[in-house]
Symmetry: C2
Subunit: 225 residues, 2 copies
């Protein structure tokens, strides 16, 4: 895919009603104002929603944590820079002389920022629906390629796989408390790892639900540490 | 403002075509599936865009860093919980027995998550434009109330104000290098603080632009430390 038909009012099939928005999106701050930083702020939010919605629809069983991690992966700087390269953003960037000399049009951060700015410019030019139709194809393959292991499995399964991959002992789930009225039981389960030694509690309306909550909490700590 | 006219298919003036989306958005995971966590993921992204666009439009001189900080402030958990309380989200929340007993419907995190989930539900129910029209009024006052000192001033001014407010000495800007072709000069300026002792470099196409970049870099470090 190419970003242009050689015309300054087009990007990836979108023909701008206000071509100055596109020009601004392709102007790095080193080249002076009006540059693309504010558009980048806006485009980052547009892209966040486009990708969030695509993941939400494509992976109906993924929980919130998995979706959040998958989105972070899809919109990380290096991934956006790769999209920007396919769309030949670097060739169209306007840089100041310092950045030009130091190869700024090849730098991941500058390319990724410019791509977000272009998304913001399309959004301002034509609204959310049009912008989504232009932007979604850039990410569709990556959205579908998210490993099912990351978005399709429940917390207990993911915890088990995490431990097995590292040849660690499997977790223990201990029922710590069971209470509540007959028709509204409350279960408290502790999930305990031997290595790394840590544990977390989960509460739920069934023993199984409480185990999932506890496993998710343990996964959160493993990811955080 | 109230979130309902006493009907299970309405929220803040929006009448759901698919009322089950609203019911799901108001169901905490402690009450079992389908609960609101996936909708919260989606609503968080929708809200991010609604607020980003509002700030972008309202504060045309704010730079990206200021906009990003203002947005974080507007969508932080306690701010969302306050909106949720005005919309009486807590009264409509479905919680598991454990959360109910421990006052979960008054907790900031649960209220804020549910509000985001409702936003996601409205988005799925009616699309971005309708959702924005419903959601924007909840935040308009806060968007307008962002202090101009945070979003309306350039980096040198903000740095000066930051230092004056703390009775610290003003920064020095030292031109370290000037080069490039006649029609494409490159200026390198160092911004130096005495207290706290730190400095940062800025590069730009003019001395003034380089000073702004250097001041912004220093502000970034002050905010980070």
């Amino acid at each position: 895919m190419s970003s242009t038909d050689g015309r300054a009012d087009r990007f990836a099939g979108h023909v701008f009603s206000t071509p100055s928005l596109l020009a601004q999106a392709l102007t790095h701050r080193s080249a002076g104002a009006p540059h693309n930083e504010r558009l980048e702020f806006l485009g980052d939010a547009v892209l966040g929603l486009v990708v969030a919605e695509a993941l939400y629809a494509r992976w109906p069983k993924a929980d919130e944590g998995s979706l959040t991690r998958a989105r972070a992966e899809l919109v990380r700087e290096s991934a956006l820079a790769a999209v920007a390269r396919r769309l030949e953003v670097g060739e169209r960037l306007v840089l100041g002389p310092g950045e030009m000399k130091s190869g700024g049009h090849r730098r991941d951060s500058i390319l990724s920022d410019a791509l977000e700015a272009v998304i913001g410019a399309i959004y301002l030019d034509a609204g959310y629906e049009v912008c989504r139709r232009v932007v979604l194809p850039w990410f569709e393959e990556a959205v579908s390629a998210v490993p099912a292991s990351k978005v399709g499995k429940d917390a207990k399964t993911r915890l088990q796989e995490w431990l097995q991959a590292r040849q660690k002992p499997l977790p223990q789930y201990v029922l710590e408390h069971e209470g509540g009225e007959e028709h509204a039981r409350v279960f408290t389960v502790r999930c305990i790892l031997a290595d790394p030694a840590l544990d977390a509690e989960g509460v739920g309306g069934s023993r199984r639900a409480a185990e999932q909550v506890a496993a998710e909490a343990v996964l959160g700590r493993l990811a955080g540490g």
